[in-house]
Symmetry: C2
DNA sequence: ACGGCTTTGGACAGATCTGTTCGATATCAC
DNA sequence: GTGATATCGAACAGATCTGTCCAAAGCCGT
């Protein structure tokens, strides 16, 4: 998944990349606190010493894991929005991307919501989640502005709730349907909010 | 909070109840895997032997913790709905209760969503979350039917997404506002869905 | 007051966790 | 090849975790 450094596509990935791939899968699937370092290095096929040489500790590994998740998801969303022309279509495209995300067999909810569930305030997980939330809010606010909504703040808040709702419902009920349900409500709030253009 | 057995209100609570009060606070605030048994028994002021005599192990303590959370929340919602007369008002009442929940200083999201974040499939947490989800869906579906919606299934699905969205957004952004935002969208979907009566 | 039950405190076992250390080995640039 | 660097393997330390055990002390109904 999320490659951190620019590694040539040839040969076997570096220890760092194998570590990141393994921690991504394990942390996401089973939870950050649930998974020990030993599980990660075993899956990555990397010596424990290398992990502490490369990352310095579990905390930094977690940080990088969340950073890469953030980065990868931003890129997916960006690509989805690029394929749409007008702001309204871009907003809907975000929820389309959510739909394909939910349909992935290993979907287990938003990594940041899950990390927050087992994070103490001020922990690396909490800080990463804060950055992610900032991005989400900026994304929907700028889209709401671009869409020419009379109250972009209101529209953005609604979109955030629908985004989070789709995510959580899909995770808890193990179905991709909430993406469609949320998209319907997105159309509703878009229609209810008056446009300038 | 959630008292499990019928204990007289006099004197100091039983070891079992102190254990449940402590685990409720610790598990909810810091996560289930994050908190060890020692923390729980220390906060409860109970010997470790008592815990294993009363509950048999951490798993059963977790089960009871989640069971009581489910029970307590059901009662709050029920009381809120009882104070409303028509189905539409009952639906809105659920989101009002969410609002006061979010405003509580120790709100940290839905206990079942958080538990699922660190739970493996088939674990006690996962099973408890499944029961909770069943209740949520039944609740909104029966309310949708009672409200005379043309497609109660559709309305119920929308309400579930709005419920989950309000919860998650409030948790992640540490604000009670999503209850109001969601309530606005609830009115929207209620108005869009045609009524028989 | 007595007997049954709960609870206590603390020691103990075994597993697992993070993190450290270090000599041996693989890899790669030159 | 040679040297620098990355990585390995494995043992080790110290903390923490769940769970067990048991004799002593407290509590409660009768």
């Amino acid at each position: 998944m999320a490659r951190s450094s620019v590694t040539p596509e040839t040969k076997k990935p570096s220890a760092r990349d194998r570590l990141l791939a393994a921690s991504d899968e394990l942390f996401y699937n089973e939870g950050i606190h649930t998974v020990g370092i030993d599980r990660v290095i075993e899956k990555a096929g990397v010596a424990k010493g290398s992990l502490y040489c490369i990352f310095g500790g579990k905390d930094q590994l977690i940080e990088t894991y969340l950073f890469n998740r953030h980065q990868a998801w931003m890129e997916v969303v960006q690509r989805g929005m690029d394929a749409a022309d007008d702001p309204r279509a871009k907003i809907l495209a975000v929820f389309d991307e959510l739909g394909t995300l939910f349909a992935a067999p290993d979907f287990r909810g938003c990594a940041f919501v899950n990390a927050t569930a087992e994070a103490l305030p001020g922990s690396p997980e909490d800080l990463a989640a804060g950055k992610f939330r900032g991005w989400i809010h900026e994304l929907f606010f700028s889209l709401a502005v671009a869409a020419g909504a009379v109250s972009p703040r209101v529209l953005a808040d609604q979109l955030v709730v629908l985004y989070d709702g789709a995510n959580t419902t899909a995770q808890m009920d193990k179905t991709a349907a909430p993406a469609v349900v949320a998209k319907g409500m997105v159309r509703m709030v878009l229609d209810s909010s008056s446009y300038v253009s």
